[in-house]
C-alpha cells in the first residue's frame, strides 16, 4: 500500500527546520553577511583590476599595450608634446594584459570600479584623466 510509509514521521523536514532555526537565532558561526552598499563598501584587494593609471615619467609611448590589447581599446594619442595611451573604458575587458606587457612597468590598474557615467563619449579616458605623477625622491 503506497500510502503507508515511514515518510510520515517527517524527520527530514524537522531536521531542516532545526538548521533554519539556528540561522534565525544566529547560533554558532552564522552571522549576517550583507554589506549595505552604498552606505558601506567592501575593501578591494591590492591586486584588484580597476581603472588604469599611467606613470607619466616612465611611459615612453611605445605602443606595445595598444598592439596586445584583445579588444583594441587602447590608442596612443598625443598629449602635451608626448605620446600617452587613451583607454575606452566602455569597451575594456579589464583583463590586465596591458599591465603584463608594458616594458617600463608604467601601466598600472587601481582599485576604482565606480565608473558608470551618462554618455558613451565620457567613457573614453584620455591621458589627462589617466596620468599620475610618481614623486621621485631626488
Amino acid at each position: 500500500m503506497t500510502w503507508i510509509s515511514k515518510d510520515w514521521a517527517m524527520g527530514g523536514i524537522i531536521k531542516g527546520l532545526i538548521v533554519t532555526l539556528k540561522h534565525v537565532l544566529r547560533v554558532g558561526d552564522r552571522p549576517t553577511v550583507t554589506v549595505q552598499y552604498p552606505y558601506e563598501k567592501m575593501k578591494v584587494q591590492p591586486r584588484f583590476r580597476g581603472l588604469h593609471a599611467v606613470d607619466e615619467n616612465a611611459c615612453i609611448g611605445c605602443g606595445i599595450c595598444e598592439v596586445n590589447c584583445p579588444n583594441s581599446t587602447i590608442q596612443i594619442v598625443k598629449h602635451n608634446t608626448k605620446w600617452y595611451p587613451q583607454v575606452n573604458v566602455g569597451m575594456c575587458l579589464f583583463c590586465g594584459i596591458c599591465v603584463d606587457v608594458c616594458p617600463m612597468n608604467a601601466m598600472k590598474m587601481t582599485g576604482n570600479y565606480e565608473l558608470a557615467d551618462y554618455s558613451r563619449e565620457s567613457l573614453i579616458y584620455g591621458p589627462d584623466r589617466l596620468l599620475f605623477n610618481k614623486e621621485v625622491n631626488k
Binding site: H23, V24, R30
Partner: protein, 380 residues
C-alpha cells in the same frame, strides 16, 4: 471597586458591545446620550453607531496587522538567509509596506480588452471581504469579541468556502486560457483541503459540545496537575497537525505554492491584475494567514486563556488576554514563515494525493478514535 479583585474565571461580558456600554456607564455619559437619542425616537441608532465604531476599530487593526505581516515575512525570510531584508525605507525598513502600497496605487489599472468588466472588477473584492468577515466570531481576548454567534465555527468554515467562487471568477474574467487553468487548479487545491480542515475542527467540537468559539476557549481554561494547561493540542495532537497542514495548503503557501511559482508555466489566476486589484489579492492572502492562525490558536492552543490569568485583577484581564492571544498567533505565523524557507514545493498531483489519500483517512481515523474514547468515558 469589585473589579480590582482577582479574576474568577467567569466571562465578564458577552461581547464588546456590552463592554463599551459598561465603560460609558462607568464614565457616566451613557445615560445623557441615550436620552438624546430617545427624544428623537431613535434608540437603536445609538446601538448601530457603537457597533460601527467597533467594526471600524477591528478593520483598522486588521489592516495594520496585515501591513506589519508583509514586513515581518520579509524580515524572517532574510534572517534565515543570513541577510538583512528591507533596511532603507524607514527605521529597519518598517515603512516598506507603505512604500509598496504607494507603488501599487500609482500603477495603471489595466483591464484586458475582451475581459468581462464587471466580473473582473468584482473578483478581488469578493476575495478580500470574506477574509475580513472571518474575524467576527473570533475572541481576541476576554469579552473582546464582536458577536458571539452560537454557530461560530460553522460560520468560519462556511465563509472560508466562498473563496473558490471568487477564484473562478477571477480566472474566467481574465479571458486567458492559462489563467483559467490556474484558477481551476487553485480551486481543486482549495476544496480538497477544506475537507480535512472541517473534519479536524469537528473532532474538537466533540469535546466542547458547542460550536461557539467562546465556549471552546473557556473549555480550555484550567490546568491538569497544576501546570499543564488544558489546551486541546494535548488531547488531539494528530488533529492539530492535520489542521495546521490543511490550513497552510488552503492559503497557498510553500510547500503548496505551485500557483505563484515562476517555474510552473501556468502563471496563476491573478496574472492579468495590476495595481490596486493585485494589492487586494495580496492583502487578502495575508489577512487569511492571520485569521487562520487565530483559528488554530482558538481551537487548539487555548485562545486567550492562560493559567496565570487567575492572578490578575479583573479590570486588566481584557488587555492581558489580548496580549496573550497575539503572542500565540504570532508564534503560529512565525511557524508558517519558518516552514516556507525550509522546504521546496510539491507538485500538483503529489499535493492532491496528499490531500485525498492521506489526510482524509487520517482525519476520519482521528474522529473515530476521539468519539470512541469519549463515549468510553476516558475524558470526563
Amino acid at each position: 471597586m469589585l473589579f480590582l479583585a482577582m479574576w474568577t474565571g467567569d466571562i465578564m461580558f458577552a461581547n464588546t458591545y456590552e463592554l463599551i456600554v459598561f465603560i460609558l456607564n462607568y464614565i457616566g455619559i451613557y445615560d445623557p446620550i441615550y436620552k438624546v437619542f430617545e427624544s428623537f425616537g431613535l434608540e437603536y441608532l445609538l446601538r448601530i453607531i457603537i457597533v460601527l465604531v467597533e467594526i471600524a476599530a477591528l478593520f483598522v487593526f486588521i489592516l495594520l496587522t496585515v501591513m506589519f505581516l508583509t514586513w515581518m515575512e520579509r524580515k524572517v525570510v532574510a534572517m534565515v538567509q543570513a541577510r538583512y531584508g528591507p533596511m532603507v525605507t524607514g527605521p529597519r525598513g518598517l515603512l516598506q509596506p507603505v512604500m509598496d502600497g504607494v507603488k501599487l496605487i500609482g500603477k495603471e489599472d489595466i483591464i484586458p480588452a475582451k475581459a468581462d468588466r464587471w466580473v473582473f472588477t468584482l473578483a478581488p473584492f469578493l476575495i478580500f471581504i470574506p477574509a475580513l468577515l472571518i474575524f467576527i466570531p473570533l475572541p481576541f481576548g476576554e469579552s473582546l469579541i464582536i458577536s458571539d454567534l452560537n454557530v461560530g465555527l460553522l460560520y468560519i468554515i462556511a465563509i472560508s468556502a466562498i473563496s473558490p467562487i471568487a477564484i473562478l471568477m477571477a480566472g474566467w474574467a481574465s479571458n486567458n486560457k492559462y489563467s483559467l487553468m490556474g484558477a481551476m487548479r487553485a480551486v481543486a487545491q482549495d476544496i480538497s483541503y477544506t475537507i480535512p480542515l472541517a473534519l479536524s475542527a469537528i473532532a474538537v467540537v466533540l469535546f466542547t459540545g458547542s460550536l461557539s468559539t467562546v465556549d471552546i476557549v473557556t473549555a480550555q481554561s484550567g490546568t491538569w496537575f497544576g501546570f499543564i494547561p488544558k489546551w486541546f493540542i494535548f488531547l488531539q495532537p494528530l488533529g492539530f497537525i492535520l489542521f495546521l497542514i490543511a490550513s497552510i495548503a488552503e492559503m497557498g503557501r510553500i510547500p503548496f505554492d505551485f500557483q505563484e511559482s515562476e517555474s510552473e508555466l501556468v502563471a496563476g489566476f491573478f496574472t492579468e491584475y495590476s495595481g490596486m486589484k493585485f494589492a487586494m489579492f495580496f492583502l487578502a492572502e495575508y489577512a487569511h494567514l492571520f485569521s487562520v492562525s487565530a483559528i488554530v490558536v482558538t481551537l487548539f492552543l487555548g485562545g486567550w486563556s492562560v493559567p496565570f490569568l487567575n492572578f490578575i485583577p479583573a479590570v486588566l484581564v481584557p488587555l492581558v488576554s489580548l496580549g496573550v492571544f497575539l503572542v500565540k498567533t504570532y508564534a503560529i505565523i512565525f511557524f508558517a514563515m519558518w516552514l516556507r524557507d525550509t522546504v521546496p514545493r510539491m507538485r500538483i498531483d503529489q499535493l492532491l494525493n496528499l490531500g485525498w489519500k492521506i489526510m482524509i483517512p487520517l482525519a476520519l481515523l482521528n474522529l473515530l478514535v476521539t468519539a470512541l474514547l469519549l463515549t468510553a468515558g476516558v475524558f470526563k
